[in-house]
């Protein structure tokens, strides 16, 4: 009887962690300052997965910052050395794993910036995950 109770408790815990989302965590969210006539910006952060795998489905930003935000990946064609960007449908976040959005790789592209991004200011991004739901992160604008 005691053993059965323990199993039930474990099952309840597992259920609880499912219902509570994947508990992703976001570290070091930042965006680079933009030049005055630069119409696109970029945001970066590190996503660490929780106990279960999750998926970043979309990002959104207030219209006071930019018209739209998308997940993009910069990559280099090894033959031509040309770098280009592709929109990414979604980002798999492995359980306990880390996905880094950084210059030259995955990033949030801010399209049609409404105003210049000025060092020292902050703005919010809403990240929508399949399990964790909407997670709001505050990006610090840096002159890096």
């Amino acid at each position: 009887m005691k053993r059965l109770f323990l199993l039930t408790a474990v099952a309840a815990l597992a259920l609880a962690s499912c219902g509570g989302g994947s508990q992703v965590s976001i570290d070091d969210p930042w965006a680079r300052t933009s030049a005055s006539t630069q119409n696109a910006g970029a945001g970066y952060f590190t996503i660490t997965g929780g106990d279960t795998a999750d998926r970043l489905l979309s990002v959104s930003v207030d219209a006071s910052i930019a018209a739209a935000a998308e997940i993009h990946e910069s990559s280099m064609d090894p033959e031509t050395s040309m770098m280009s960007m592709q929109a990414v449908e979604s980002l798999e976040i492995p359980a306990g794993g880390t996905v880094i959005l950084e210059p030259g790789s995955y990033h949030v592209m801010l399209m049609m910036l409404t105003e210049e991004l000025v060092a020292g200011t902050e703005f919010d991004l809403d990240l929508t995950f399949e399990d964790a739901g909407v997670v709001t992160v505050t990006l610090e604008v840096r002159d890096e």
């Binding site: 030049a35 005055s36 006539t37 696109a40 970029a42 031509t80 050395s81 040309m82 770098m83 960007m85």
Partner: protein
């Protein structure tokens, strides 16, 4: 990365949108360096990262940074007007040259000379996709490319190379 044999670009000159479209020859001042980059202003990730790293490297050189001129050549002249290109690069470097030509052949000739590659494609939904090689080129007063830095080179390494190159040029 050093080209073998050394690549000469001194015969190339391009209209400097930042300087009333007076052509700028791809030659540094005596004992100086001209750092050239091929990019476009609506580039959110690669171009600002590279220009930011160069700015950071130059900011650690003290007065010697005045021996370095920066030129940004847009590969997307249809969208990058003279004004946009100038304001863009001068946000990073107040004295920089914004280079822009409406003549596709002139742009292609310049890119071939440097060994740079670019591609501007309009997609079916009307958006523009740009691909470009993302090297920074350091040119000396002979019009020789001394070094080309690939994307992702840290500002510390660029700074160290700049110190070395400025020493070499000053001693020659």
């Amino acid at each position: 990365m050093v080209g073998t044999p050394a690549i000469q670009v001194g015969h190339i000159s391009l209209p400097a949108a930042s300087h009333e479209s007076v052509p700028l020859q791809m030659i540094a001042e005596p004992e100086g360096l001209l750092v050239v980059y091929f990019g476009y202003t609506s580039c959110p990730d690669i171009c600002p990262t590279t220009l930011g790293d160069l700015r950071s490297a130059m900011s650690q050189l003290g007065d010697d940074s005045e021996r370095i001129e920066v030129a940004f050549l847009t590969v997307d002249p249809e969208r990058d007007t003279d004004f946009i290109t100038t304001k863009y690069v001068q946000t990073f470097f107040p004295d920089a040259y914004a280079l822009r030509t409406d003549d596709p052949e002139e742009l292609a000739t310049a890119a071939r000379a440097f060994g740079a590659a670019y591609e501007v494609a309009k997609t079916s939904d009307g958006s523009v996709e740009v691909g470009h090689s993302a090297f920074l080129y350091a040119v000396n007063s002979d019009g020789t490319i001394l070094v080309q830095w690939p994307f992702g080179m840290s500002s510390e390494l660029i700074r160290n190379d700049l110190i070395y190159l400025l020493d070499q040029e000053g001693a020659s």
